[in-house]
Amino acid sequence: MSTTLEVRNLRTHFFTRAGVVKAVDGVSFTVGRGQVLGLVGESGSGKTVTGFSIIGLVDPPGRVVEGEILFHGRNLATANEEELRHLRGNRIAMIFQDPMMTLNPVLRVDTQMIETVLAHEKVSREEARQRSRDALGMVGIPSPDERLKSYPHQFSGGMRQRVAIAIALLHRPELIIADEPTTALDVTIQGQILAEVQKLAATTGTSLIWITHDLSVVAGLADEIAVMYAGRIVEGGEVGAVLDAPMHPYTVGLIGSVPSRNRRGEPLRQIPGMTPSLLKLPAGCAFRSRCPRADEACLVEPDLLELRPGRRARCFHPHLEGVGA
């Protein structure tokens, strides 16, 4: 299987007045062709910044300070803005979290779609319009011809997200970065969109980075999972294996936090404490202060190690009980 994207030791820092915020601090992962990577973590764990770093849209005071972002072998971390612009929306597309905010409220849908086509290809307006209409049809928007002439506010949230996805699909990108695209939607709409995306990824060979905090979405959609905490990946591996037998205490806590019918009547489980401020990360493991297994060893930062075949975790005291050798 060929590799679409390989991220090596990515560090994106924000240089604020209060200090340096290490939003992404040494993240590495690979996404193969047609593969879906689920990037999971709490708010502020650096998932979104990782996504923006890949397409070079980190705004000042933020900046990629270290690492390589290899897209088909080409390092995007050192690419210039013009080169990145030709990749964005063309070979790497992004879908945002809030469909209410991603479409420009004062421009018609056709304007916003046609400009995307014309930004990367020299075709006639008429052809660009046809392609836009076909893309809308593909994501399941009824009577796309009429809908093209509508303004974003005339669509429901789910429909707007479909439009955003249609825009992302216009150039049949090799990689789509989806930043919590279904979080703001109803469960039923979420299901439809997930099914749609899964079908598209399978038929077009598009790779996906699916950023979310919703484990159930990842379970149904992703091939691989990477769990982020305080700017670092703390656990990674094949999605079924990780969810069945998580090794890192944070992943265990995250999965445990999902309310379950089997534990009815018991108080809901939670991870004690709060995500530490990225401005003042304590030395050693960032999860130390909230971890039931922490001891003196955790005062030193653990490395992300392959503890079992295909299973990586960043922990001195991993849960290895349920994991096969």
Binding site: G89, P105, H120
Partner: protein
């Protein structure tokens, strides 16, 4: 749309009516024009004849009803001083003021929008800091002082521009316009800039804050994620959004520019309505004051209506029917 317009027109008539009552009573309360208009050495007979001729012998409410009756026929009374129809007097002066006001608004958009856009896109640059500091001056320096300084520099010392009057005018549709001649332009330049200074600062600040806000919006980031050129993101995605507040404020300011061009007109001896109203207030020339305010109110109402309609053109989310 039709229902909406009818409703607006009805509202406007109510505003006009209320305004006329307030002004009528207000001017009556300030003082008695008789004391100013009739020479002190006139005898009692002459006085009474003059008072009766001006219709000032009736009680106030009757005076008002007479005024209202005439107003319905389009007659807003005759000036006590000039003995000409007040409306005619005002309309004769209007082109000069309109020219000045539109010139000023044009300048404020022409200068304010690009500067504000630059200041919003590069907030940390030295250029932006200079622009913002300049806009504070534009806000805080008194208009009359800036006007005098302009005259001193450009008219007295450099001798580039004339210091007063309208210059040559061209007559179109029975009205005199000076913006059609080169000489007229040179007369218009300084007063228009003087009047525009405050608006330029306003437009700069409005545009800058609008741009800074829009740049943080997801739709701008999404537009960039689509691979659009920075120019397209700025001039289509950002620009169209900031036009909404700018059009609103510029539109509303147009009314106040017309109404309060008094200072600039006085400094530059610009023969407009502002000069007329100041003179009329001094001699309590009530018909002119009332007629002037009626015209101004009508202008405000019309401008507001136009702004509302423009607004719905710019912002598809606004539908006028829903407000009616």
């Amino acid at each position: 749309m039709t229902v909406y317009l009818l409703r607006r027109i009805l509202q406007s008539l109510m505003v006009l009516l209320a305004m006329s009552v307030i002004v009528f009573v207000g001017v009556y309360a300030i003082g008695d024009p008789v004391e100013i208009l009739i020479s002190p050495d006139a005898d009692q007979m002459e006085r009474e004849r003059a008072i009766a001729a001006l219709g000032l012998d009736l009680p106030l409410w009757q005076q008002y009803l007479v005024f209202l009756q005439n107003a319905l026929r389009g007659d807003l009374g005759r000036s006590f001083v000039f003995n000409e129809p007040a409306l005619q007097l005002i309309l004769n002066r209007m082109p000069a003021t309109l020219e000045l006001a539109f010139g000023a608004m044009f300048l404020s958009v022409l200068i304010g929008l690009p500067l504000g856009l630059y200041a919003g896109l590069k907030p940390e640059s030295i250029g932006s800091r200079v622009i913002m500091a300049g806009s504070i001056l534009g806000f805080s320096l008194p208009t009359f002082w800036v006007g005098l300084m302009l005259i001193m520099v450009f008219a007295v010392q450099l001798g580039w521009l004339p210091s007063s009057g309208r210059g040559e005018t061209v007559q179109i549709l029975g009205l005199h316009w000076s913006f059609l001649t080169a000489n007229g332009w040179s007369h218009l330049a300084m007063p228009a800039f003087n009047l525009a200074l405050f608006k330029i600062s306003l437009v700069i600040r409005l545009t800058r804050s609008g741009v800074r806000e829009a740049m943080l919006m997801d739709y701008v980031k999404f537009a960039r994620a689509k691979g659009l050129s920075p120019a397209r993101v700025t001039f289509v995605h950002v620009f169209k959004n900031i036009l909404i507040p700018v059009v609103t404020v510029v539109g509303l300011e147009l009314g106040s520019t017309i109404a309060f061009s008094v200072v600039t007109e006085t400094v530059f001896a610009w023969p407009g309505m502002g000069k007329l109203i100041i003179d009329s207030i001094n001699v309590l020339d009530r018909p002119v004051i009332v007629a002037y305010l009626m015209v101004i109110v009508l202008m405000f109402i019309t401008i507001n209506l136009i702004v509302d309609i423009l607004y719905s053109v710019l912002d598809p989310r606004v539908r006028l029917e829903s407000k009616a």
